[in-house]
């Protein structure tokens, strides 16, 4: 069993090593097969675990990673329902995306192709480490591992410096979060002398309120960085510089949800600190609305999806914030389905358009790429919460939870949901309906993607459509299998009784009507022949993302650079080093002066001698005075 578990992350790592080291020898197909193969195998292994129900609350320890007389950090894995769920998502969706990539990246030269896949494998490895780890340190290892992989993959096309900047931005913003995470770990180690989940959660009650609040807030800071929440969200849209499958895997399905995993994992701590919970909820909500509003008027298809991801993550944090951990996790799952689908679809579109990402230059692709069209449509419906799609179920849960928590939260969350529907339909219309707005050769170039790309689309589409049924409210004749499944790890969100049933129906109806209206409006506005993405007034502000990036440059980046320059050229060079050199220069100067005493005239010499004899006498007879005086000074 232990060996089996160990194999799950180890296989991708081996894949990374083989593909990475032999990248000059392997042919494209070889490396593609290898890379996807290992992921496939670990997916199967995960399924084995899933079906054999071989979960255990206590960790599988392999060896001591760090140990000293104060604390011991084992290299241990925790295989329980939560981690298994995430492993399924990671390996499953990961596998699909690997397959998709084999076709999508086919233009690359062999060694870059291999490099791409090795990075992808490394990512999966670290992600698995993250979710498998039995203590916060191992989780942190994976945490930073996925960070560096996303850095490498965003900057995959390293000839373009814009991409590199985006990659660096992503990594550094993640680091800011990591500081919080690390501090939380140190805090735990200092207070509880351990970072193992089991020990921490069992002894959590011994922690003081301040400790818990501090720890949880710091953990949440980590989550903010990783899951792109306000104020650290700006890296995610830029991260779209990477290849589209990467965006699908890392920046939609898996990595960005690590924050949710972490909070869900440490629900015991969070539940102990209402303050933090409120903060989580508020920030989640704010992010959801802000990102959605920005997404409304973006013209880059991937940017739209990116912002939508940010806002969806916001939804999840709202859920977590109101204590519905399972719901959050559930939304993670559904989101990973439809958002991956959206990205892959977008990828397929871009592929078809020959690298064109600007939706104002698309339109009317429905005929040309039908499979992509249909799958994309399903995804759009799912994300905008069309009844009985996966998205509907999870969002509905979130709204219910919010409703149970407080009215305003509910209404604001709903508003965010409406915005979601708006921008998704906008994209959909602009891309697939209306008339083609691109150039001639693009028109000729248009074609449906190869099966390696379409098959994953279909699979994901199915999942996105029906994935919600594992958690369908009773009213619709469903049963919350999902919550029960997670119950041993994460306390299930207390389901609303009959009183809520009414709201459920209202919600159902409201959703249908609302979506219909939105659909028609968007069709009127965007399913057009001519469209140029010029905006004015508030739209323009939104199109420019509220000028948040500019704001950060103005208040953080530039001042920092100036300070650095000041320290480098003023304090260091003129200040400290100046003093050091100044001493030397002073000595040389004084030497130039002192030597003049040696005038070369015997008369002066003897004069000085005689005078100094007298002086010595003076000093000698009055030395008590002098010594007293000196003692007064020093």
């Amino acid at each position: 069993m232990n060996a089996l578990v160990l194999c799950i992350p180890l296989l991708p790592f081996l894949g990374f090593l083989i593909v990475g080291l032999c990248r000059n020898k392997l042919s494209k197909t070889m490396s593609g097969i290898l890379a996807s193969g290992v992921i496939g195998i670990s997916f199967i292994l995960t399924l084995v675990i899933f079906f054999s129900h071989s979960y255990s609350p206590n960790a599988i320890t392999y060896f001591n990673f760090i140990s000293n007389s104060q604390y011991n950090i084992p290299f241990a894995f925790q295989v329980d329902q939560l981690s298994t769920l995430f492993m399924l998502i990671i390996t499953g969706v990961g596998f699909l995306i690997h397959v998709y990539s084999t076709a999508y990246m086919s233009e690359e030269t062999p060694e870059h192709y291999a490099r791409y896949f090795s990075y992808l494998n490394l990512f999966v490895f670290s992600m698995l480490l993250l979710v498998l780890g039995a203590n916060y340190v191992i989780m942190f290892i994976g945490w930073e591992g996925v960070g560096i992989c996303s850095y490498l993959l965003i900057g995959f096309w390293f000839k373009n410096n814009q991409y590199n900047y985006a990659a660096r931005k992503a990594f550094i913003m993640n680091r800011i979060g990591d500081v919080g995470f690390l501090l939380a770990i140190f805090w735990l180690l200092a207070r509880l002398g351990s970072a193992d989940y089991s020990i921490v959660f069992s002894n959590a009650s011994t922690l003081s309120v301040t400790d818990v609040t501090g720890i949880t807030i710091l953990l949440f800071v980590g989550a903010i960085g990783k899951s792109a929440q306000i104020p650290l969200y700006t890296w995610l849209p830029d991260a779209m510089a990477g290849p589209t499958p990467v965006s699908a895997l890392i920046h939609a399905a898996t990595m960005v949800t690590a924050g949710i995993y972490m909070i869900a994992r440490s629900n015991v701590l969070f539940s102990m600190s209402p303050v933090t919970m409120d903060i989580v909820a508020v920030i989640g909500l704010a992010t959801a609305i802000l990102a959605a509003s920005i997404a409304l008027f973006q013209n880059d298809i991937k940017k739209v999806l990116a912002y939508s991801t940010v806002s969806q993550l916001g939804f999840m944090f709202v859920a977590l914030g109101v204590g519905a951990y399972t719901t959050g996790v559930f939304h993670v799952m559904t989101h990973s389905f439809f958002k991956a689908l959206l990205f892959l679809g977008a990828g397929s579109v871009i592929h078809a358009m020959g690298g064109e990402q600007d939706i104002t230059k698309m339109g009317g692709l429905r005929k040309k790429i039908p499979i992509t069209y249909w799958t994309f449509l399903i995804a759009v419906l799912a994300i905008s919460g069309f009844p009985f799609t996966s998205g509907f179920v999870s969002k509905d849960e979130i709204l219910m939870a919010a409703y149970a928590h407080s009215q305003p939260l509910f209404w604001l969350t709903t508003f965010a949901a409406v915005l979601t529907a708006l921008y998704m339909f906008r994209v959909f219309m602009l891309v697939f309906l209306g008339g083609f707005r691109g150039s001639e050769e693009q028109q000729h170039h248009l074609h449906e993607s190869p099966p390696a790309m379409t098959i994953p689309l279909i699979i994901l589409a199915v999942l996105a459509a029906i994935g919600g049924f594992v958690q369908l409210p009773e009213i619709f004749g469903g049963h919350d299998y999902f919550n029960e499944f997670l119950a041993p790890v994460v306390p299930a969100f207390k389901h609303v009784g009959e009183s809520m049933a009414v709201q459920e129906y209202y919600l159902l109806g409201g959703t249908v009507v609302g979506l219909l209206i939105i659909f028609l409006l968007c069709k009127k506005w965007y399913a057009v022949k001519h469209f140029e993405g010029k905006y004015t007034g508030i739209k323009n502000v939104l199109a420019h993302k509220w000028y948040i990036d500019e704001l950060y440059d103005a208040i953080i980046v530039n001042p920092f650079n100036n300070i650095a320059g000041f320290l480098k050229s003023i304090v260091e060079k003129s200040g400290i080093d100046g003093i050091v050199n100044g001493v030397g220069r002073f000595i040389q100067y004084s030497s130039r002066q002192v030597r003049l005493v040696q005038s070369g005239m015997v008369g002066n010499y003897i004069l000085i001698m005689v005078l100094s004899i007298t002086v010595l006498f003076m000093v000698f007879w009055n030395q008590d005075l002098i010594i007293g005086f000196l003692q007064k000074i020093f």
Partner: protein, 168 residues
């Protein structure tokens, strides 16, 4: 105020006066001559102190040999047409000042040495100054330094030869 006291004061005054003359004369020859006077005055003091041997030696060695040597050298190099290098008066001034300071210190020492004030010297008395007494001690206790001073003379001689010999 007996005769010895008068002689003492006279000799002292003479010594000091001629010493000042030595320092102040422009022409070296006069300085030499005045220095001889000083030596005679000092020899007088020796006699007064019953150090007859030293008095004689002083006359012979100093006034006799050394000063003649000086005089000879001064004559040899006619110093009337000396190339005049920058003369600075403040240097002289300072010199006098510092000399005075030194004097003050020495005098103040002797003044503040209370034990000295009681000490007196009986003039024209005692026989230690006689050759026989000195000779006894010189050739017993001071034989070693006496021998060693021969080395001194040797080296002086060699030196005088090395330095003074005219290079061809």
């Amino acid at each position: 105020m007996d005769i010895t006291t008068i002689i003492f004061w006279f000799l002292s005054a003479l010594a000091l006066f001629s010493a000042i003359m030595v320092v102040t004369r422009k022409n070296p020859i006069f300085s030499v001559l005045w220095l001889i006077v000083v030596f005679f005055a000092i020899s007088g003091h020796y006699l007064l102190l019953n150090a007859q041997f030293l008095a004689v030696v002083n006359i012979i060695v100093y006034a006799g040999a050394i000063m003649v040597l000086f005089l000879f050298v001064v004559m040899m190099m006619n110093l009337d047409n000396l190339p005049v290098v920058n003369k600075n008066t403040w240097m002289k001034f300072l010199g006098v000042i510092s000399g005075g300071l030194l004097l003050c210190i020495l005098v103040s020492t002797s003044k503040s040495a209370a034990d000295m004030n009681l000490k007196t010297i009986v003039l024209k008395d005692g026989d230690i100054g006689l050759i026989e007494n000195l000779g006894k001690v010189l050739f017993t206790k001071y034989a070693l330094p006496f021998e060693i001073s021969s080395i001194l003379f040797l080296s002086a001689m060699v030196g005088a030869v090395v330095i003074g010999k005219k290079e061809s």
